[in-house]
C-alpha cells in the first residue's frame, strides 16, 4: 500500500499553481471554514483516484496527534 499526506499534496498543488501565476488561498487560514474541508477532501479523493492512500507520514502524523492536548477541550472553552 502506498501512502501520501493529503496536506502535503495541498501544499504541492498550491506551489504548482503559484508557479503558473495563480494565487491560491491557504485553505487552513480562511474565513470560510468550508474551504479546509473541501481542500482536504479533494486532496484525499485525488490520491485515492491515483491508487494512493491518503495518510500522514508516521512521525509528523503522530507528533501532530500527541503533542498538543485536544484543542476542542482546552481551558478557554472550558472556563470562558
Amino acid at each position: 500500500m502506498q501512502f501520501y499526506d493529503p496536506n502535503t499534496l495541498i501544499d504541492d498543488v498550491r506551489a504548482l499553481l503559484r508557479d503558473r501565476g495563480i494565487d491560491p488561498a491557504d485553505p487552513w487560514d480562511s474565513a470560510d471554514p468550508e474551504r479546509a474541508a473541501l481542500a482536504a477532501t479533494g486532496a484525499a479523493k485525488l490520491l485515492r483516484g491515483l491508487g494512493v492512500m491518503p495518510a500522514m507520514d508516521p512521525v509528523p502524523g503522530l507528533v501532530r496527534a500527541v503533542t498538543e492536548p485536544w484543542t476542542d477541550a482546552d481551558d478557554r472553552r472550558a472556563t470562558g
Binding site: A37, A55, E68, D72, G80
Partner: protein, 288 residues
C-alpha cells in the same frame, strides 16, 4: 533514542524504528504550560490510557508494543508504539454538547452534518452518541466534516469502520464511567495503518487530555460544566491577575496536591484499581 518533538504535555522519541511516547507532568492552562509540575500526572494518564487500550482491545487493535521496553527513567510514563501512517481525520464521539460541538450546533443546528433536536443547552445530553469527525490540518484550525466527507477521503468501508469503532469505544467508555459517577462527555480518537495495512488505534485513549470528564453529581445543563480533574487549576488561574500569556504563574502547593489527588481519584474510579503510591519529591517547579 532520538527526540522527535517536545510538545506541551508529551514528548515523542524514535527508537529502533518504533516511536516512544513520554507523558510529562507538565500542565497547561489557556494554552500556556505552567512552570509547576503536577507530580505523577504523566504516569497516571499513561497508565489510564494503557488500561483503556487493554479493556478495549477487542474493539480495535492498538499501537502499543510495550509499556516496559522503555528507558528506566521513564518507567510508568512511556509507551513504545508502532509507527503508523496516520489517517488525516480526527474521529470524535460526542454524547453531550460542549466546546466546538456546541458552537457548531448553535450555528447550524447540527454537528458534522448530524442534525440535532432544537433547544439543546450547553452540557445537554444528546439523544444518542454521534460521530463528529474533523479535518486534521498541519496548521490552523480543524474543521468539522461530514461522514460523507470522511468516506470520500478514506473510502466508504474504512469510514464506516472508523465511525463504528469510535462510537463503540465511546459507548463502552461512557458506560464504565457512568457506573462510577463520571460523565464522559466526548472523546477524540486517532487512527493509522500499520505496516500490514491494518487499521490501528493510536495516540492515547479516554484520558482527560483527549476527552471531557465531568462529575455526574455536578452535571447541570445550561452552564459550563466542571472538569473532573483539572478544575482546581482552572479555578485558581481564573482568579489571578494574569493575561493568560507566557510565562504562566507558579502553582501553589495546595493546588498542586489537590489536582494530583483528583487525577488519582479519576484513575481509581475508572479502573477500579488503587493507584500505587510512591514517595514523591516535593520540589515541583521546572523551567517549561
Amino acid at each position: 533514542m532520538r527526540l522527535l518533538h517536545s510538545g506541551k504535555v508529551r514528548d515523542v522519541y524514535e527508537d529502533r524504528g518504533d516511536v516512544i511516547l513520554v507523558a510529562s507532568d507538565r500542565v497547561s492552562v489557556y494554552d500556556v504550560v505552567l512552570p509547576t509540575l503536577i507530580p505523577d500526572k504523566g504516569k497516571i494518564l499513561t497508565q489510564l490510557s494503557l488500561w483503556w487500550f487493554s479493556q478495549l482491545a477487542d474493539v480495535c487493535p492498538n499501537h502499543v508494543i510495550s509499556a516496559t521496553d522503555i528507558p528506566p527513567e521513564w518507567a510508568g510514563r512511556a509507551i513504545r508504539c508502532k509507527r503508523l501512517d496516520m489517517l488525516p481525520v480526527e474521529c470524535i464521539a460526542r454524547g453531550y454538547l460542549a466546546g466546538l460541538g456546541l458552537d457548531e450546533y448553535r450555528r447550524y443546528g447540527s454537528v458534522s452534518g448530524v442534525p440535532l433536536p432544537d433547544a439543546l443547552l450547553e452540557g445537554s445530553r444528546l439523544p444518542e452518541p454521534i460521530f463528529t469527525p474533523t479535518t486534521k490540518a498541519t496548521a490552523g484550525h480543524d474543521e468539522f466534516i461530514t461522514f460523507d466527507d470522511v468516506a470520500s477521503q478514506v473510502g466508504t468501508e474504512t469510514a464506516g469502520r472508523l465511525r463504528a469503532i469510535t462510537l463503540e469505544i465511546y459507548r463502552r467508555g461512557a458506560s464504565r464511567a457512568a457506573a462510577r459517577g463520571i460523565i464522559l462527555a466526548d472523546s477524540k480518537l486517532e487512527f493509522g495503518y500499520d505496516a500490514s495495512g491494518v487499521l490501528v488505534l493510536s495516540d492515547e485513549l479516554l484520558t482527560s487530555d483527549s476527552s471531557r470528564f465531568w462529575p455526574a453529581d455536578d452535571w447541570q445543563p445550561g452552564r459550563r460544566q466542571h472538569a473532573l480533574d483539572k478544575q482546581f487549576v482552572r479555578d485558581w488561574s481564573s482568579g489571578l491577575d494574569w493575561d493568560r500569556t507566557p510565562p504562566g504563574p507558579p502553582v501553589p502547593d495546595a493546588i498542586v496536591q489537590a489536582t494530583r489527588n483528583r487525577y488519582i481519584t479519576v484513575y481509581e474510579q475508572l479502573t477500579g484499581l488503587p493507584w500505587p503510591e510512591e514517595p514523591t519529591c516535593s520540589s515541583t517547579t521546572r523551567t517549561p
